[in-house]
């Protein structure tokens, strides 16, 4: 992630607009990105400092290129690279040896004015030769463990020039989110993945049903106490996951210090959607968790069977910070709907935790499909009367599911 010192953003009507390089507006940058990758590709063995100077030279072809953008590209290219850190212990020992030797000659003066004084040049030469080298080499080696003197070992070639630009755009949006106090996402799909990423980042949610799907209001534990950007890091960390999903719009709310305004803080928003053109560095999630699920979905098809239609991940059941995303929602034209959860494979522990989750929603009818096994007595589980299960071998058939649906909705 970039640091705040490398952030570039414009502010317009209360909107934060992170720096964004587009192929149309910033055509030259496609060429620059090419050159930047070449610098690193051909720069194996160079020090970080000289690589960064080369990056600066490339980007200064654009006289408008801000310093921060140069810094940001250096950071991103470094992230694709591995550097040889030298041998810090050996370098530290070398320094120790040199400084201890030099101590008896202190101070090294430009011109010795008496027999008691030691001239800089001669003394340095002596010390170097005592250590079996020359001063110019010694001078190079003395601080070789410094980060700026690390030498490039490998450059990861998955970094195509266009991908570099894509990463830059994501990185600038990410760093802008560090000031966020709250994030609201309206999603029409992939709720499970979105919430999973949010949880992974350490965020808490509120869930609201909307006309087209669900609204996730993401904040941290202390956010109910005051507006805090304590969780901005978590929100920035969450962004790549969100970007890998489809069907959402997001608004992040942030507070900013603005020295020149009478009010020390004022409100800003950052708006984004899956169509903003930001490419996630994270792979999009798998469409189906298991073969049984995809098989069942394709068997069912889009049509209505016995009055029921099959909707993938059509609902979210939630209580407190626990949420349950059934694989499918079966909807009948009269408005009746029942979630269906298919277990692909299971261990007794997994089944137990599933049942535990279902118990959070005792009032809600749920249909569970479980692969046949002789090892566990399913009858022995204390199911809620609203929860029904069905066993299957190899493949979940439509007929028995329909039968059970009818039974569950009979009044």
């Amino acid at each position: 992630m970039l640091t705040r010192e490398l952030a570039i953003a414009r502010f317009e009507n209360g909107l934060v607009l992170p720096d964004r390089l587009t192929r149309i507006k910033d055509q030259a940058y496609v060429e620059y990105a090419q050159q930047l990758c070449e610098v690193y590709r051909n720069g194996i063995g160079w020090t970080r400092k000289s690589l960064h100077q080369a990056v600066q030279r490339v980007l200064e072809q654009d006289p408008e290129c801000p310093v921060r953008r140069i810094g940001a590209f250096c950071k991103l290219l470094d992230e694709w690279s591995q550097f040889d850190r030298g041998n810090p212990r050996k370098t530290a020992e070398l320094r120790r040896a040199v400084f201890r030797r030099a101590a008896s000659f202190h101070p090294l003066v430009e011109v010795a004015e008496s027999i008691l004084e030691h001239a800089e040049k001669a003394t340095k030469g002596t010390i170097a030769s005592e250590l079996g080298t020359e001063w110019l080499q010694l001078k190079e080696d003395l601080f070789a463990d410094l980060i700026e003197n690390h030498r490039l070992k490998t450059f990861d070639e998955h970094g195509s020039p266009l991908e570099l630009l894509a990463r830059y755009n994501v990185a600038q949006t990410q760093v802008a989110l560090l000031d966020s106090v709250r994030m609201v996402i309206d999603a029409t799909a992939e709720w499970k993945t979105i919430l999973r990423y949010a949880k992974l980042a350490g965020l808490m949610h509120r869930i609201l049903k909307t006309e087209t799907g669900y609204r996730f209001d993401l904040q941290g534990p202390a956010s109910v106490l005051r507006r805090t950007h304590r969780y901005g890091v978590a929100m920035a960390r969450f962004l790549p996951g969100l970007l890998s999903c489809r069907g959402w719009t997001m608004t992040a709310f942030m507070k900013r210090k603005a020295a020149r305004f009478a009010r020390p803080e004022f409100d800003l928003r950052l708006e984004l959607s899956d169509r903003s053109g930001l490419v996630s560095p994270v792979q999009p999630p798998e469409d189906f968790d298991s073969n049984v699920e995809s098989q069942f979905a394709s068997d069912w098809g889009d049509e209505s069977r016995g009055g029921w239609r099959l909707v993938r991940e059509g609902t979210v059941l939630h209580v407190g910070q626990r949420a349950f995303f059934p694989d499918f929602l079966l909807e009948r034209s009269d408005g009746e709907s029942i979630p269906l959860e298919i277990l692909g494979f299971w261990t007794p522990e997994y089944l137990r935790s599933k049942v535990e989750t279902l118990r959070l929603f005792p009032q809600h009818p749920i249909l569970l499909a479980i692969p046949k096994s002789t090892r566990v007595d399913l009858e022995g589980i204390a199911w809620s009367p609203n929860h029904r299960w069905i066993e299957y071998t190899n493949k979940l058939e439509i007929g028995p599911v329909l039968a059970l649906l009818e039974e569950m909705t009979k009044r």
Binding site: E64, F99, K139, A222, V224, H229
Partner: protein
Amino acid sequence: MANGDVDRMAKSSDRGLANLDYDSGTLLLDAWTETAIQRIFGQGIWVWDSRVGRWRTDACNYRLVRDVLATRNYGTIDRVPQWQTVNWSKIEIPPLRPEQQKAVDAWQQTRRGIVVMPTGTGKTEVAIQLMASGRCSTLVIAPVRDLMYQWHRRILRALGYDAGILGDNRFSVKPITVTTYASACIHLAELGNRFQLLVFDECHHLAGPLRSDAARCSIASDRLGLTATWNPDVVNTKTAGAVRWDDILGQVVYELEIHDVRGRTLAEYEVVRIPVALSDLERNRYDQLSEHVSDYVLQRRTDDPGFRWQDLCAETQSSQVASRILRAFREKQAIEERAEEKLRVLEDLFRLHPGERMIIFTGSNAMAREVSLRFLIPCLLSHCGKRERLDYLEGLRDGVYPAIVANQVLDEGVDLPELKIAVILGGKGSTRQAKQRLGRILRRQGEAKAILYEVVTSNTREVERSRKRRKNDAYEGTRHRKVRKRPGAS
């Protein structure tokens, strides 16, 4: 049921047991009715969190909450604290001086608050004395890694306890743990229920919204702040007035002024200012850059009379011209900071004090390395490992090394007990930094006087910064001196 928030449950009786839990930097309490909460706690402590269906408050309110529940005789199931009583294998603390004892007594009255004592008057001993008698789980928070390790050593020496270290890529948490502000910011929400006492070394570092926010994440009822300079106005401006010091630390409980101890606990010291000139080459470039910068600022001020330097920094985000001006400004700074002449003056100072150990402060890492390479003296930078730093610091103390050069890593509190001469080659203009730096050499050693040399480039902004530094009362009686020009130097 799938309708968002958990319904607020009204307990039939609010005299049930109070279930108290810790949740990453906050406390959670059962779903009592709003009336019950208000009657018992009053307003403004607990906030209803519908996301979990419980009342929530900042962890730093823990003591208050427990006190209220106790006075009202509420049965409490308290799963919050994860701390313990600590047994020391030994206690070896030198007898406290009267002012140290006063500080100890003052803090113990409330077990909260700030002790203000100039550097070199034994703040650490005050804290260790309080830790020794408190015997509770303690987190010591220091500004930088050096100081974190120094606390570790001091605790080991005085109390025989090998404290945990959190920071510098180490994550070992024990009942007594030392850390840095940066690491505390990251981890305090997770560890906030592990410590009963927090010691904030150089506690002015708590200013800043993220850090003061982190301090709220701890349930520690005992909080000790140590600092050499406490100016609440300055600190509050930095945090935009958002910090309620009572919540996170407390008020000043003891303050020892620097002139109270000057010449008694501390050595007498004098400040000698040495102006140096830029070389012709440096001067030309410097003037050229200055012109760019002032033209720009002048022009912007015509457009906008309220234009300030901070605005320029903000503009660099979008404006290339502003970027270029900022670059010019930085180059200017680099020229004044790294003027060749400074190295010559330093050579003269080394000659002036033969056999005397010295410490040199620079304004940048680059300059520190330049000095190190020129004179082959150890250069203490943040990248140095723990062993290397120790070797340098102890080597300087024991006379193995004649001098060391450092950038900011030595700014605060690093122990160098017997040093009498320091040189500043450029640096920031803040009085706080000056006081901290002075503290380095203000250690009494017999009747010997300490000297602080300040080498500034004349006719540059450095002179202004130096003037600003001297506003600090510690600098009273600064003498100005031109070091003799060496024959041969132009």
